[in-house]
Symmetry: C2
Subunit: 154 residues, 2 copies
Amino acid sequence: MNFVDTLFDDTYFMRKALALAKKALSLGEIPVGALIVSKENKIIAQTHNLTERLKDVTAHAEMQAITAASHYLQSKYLKGCTLYVTLEPCAMCLGALYWSQIDKIVYGASDPKRGGISQGVAIHPKTKVVKDILAEESEGILRFFFENKRKQLQ
Amino acid sequence: MNFVDTLFDDTYFMRKALALAKKALSLGEIPVGALIVSKENKIIAQTHNLTERLKDVTAHAEMQAITAASHYLQSKYLKGCTLYVTLEPCAMCLGALYWSQIDKIVYGASDPKRGGISQGVAIHPKTKVVKDILAEESEGILRFFFENKRKQLQ
């Protein structure tokens, strides 16, 4: 690993994705944050869940990140790119990532119930997957959100 | 089945989805068309594949239809709605349809390789699935597109 790679490692970018999840939390959205980094270590998309605000189930952090990165690169294929997301992508998002042929997917907390990887959704042969990066923090913020929701309903 | 239901049956709406697939074909897009019909038999979304024009893998006909219908209804849940699409939805689109809790999915041609149902992606317990509506026509237009593509490459 060269010097730049140690500076910009998976934990570095996941911490930024976590900050985006916190932004979602402050808006009352399910706190999931995502970003896409180009092969030059440049952040080309920064997003968080917006399904409540947009009243649109397709507005997951990852989906918006794919669209934003594709727009930036003017390419539907995200070659050389890495997606960082605080929660395991669902079937929809993993399906989209398949079509994008992205190089690498890094996620924090696992989602055994609704996660696409847990469901066995196909991953593109070009795509490498890394999990459990800042998983505790990612799960903690989600737990905080849902516990608060439950309290509000009581 | 009452009189209105026989007028507006699955074949009626799938023929309209096929017309949208033909529109995609004329634009050089993979010819898949979709529409969403409300419980009052009103078409509230009409879309076709736009992945090439938008350079965005998320621009499948179904994804655009979900976003358009949610916007129309001002609801992220597509209660009482039916999606018509000429090709079996992929994992991404079926994943999105899961979140939407749509009442019914009707598709034309099956896609054993990349279809979400063929891949075993979860379908919401509230959602009914009907297949093989104008399947030959839906497949025919796709075959025409890919045969032409191959000829252009020769």
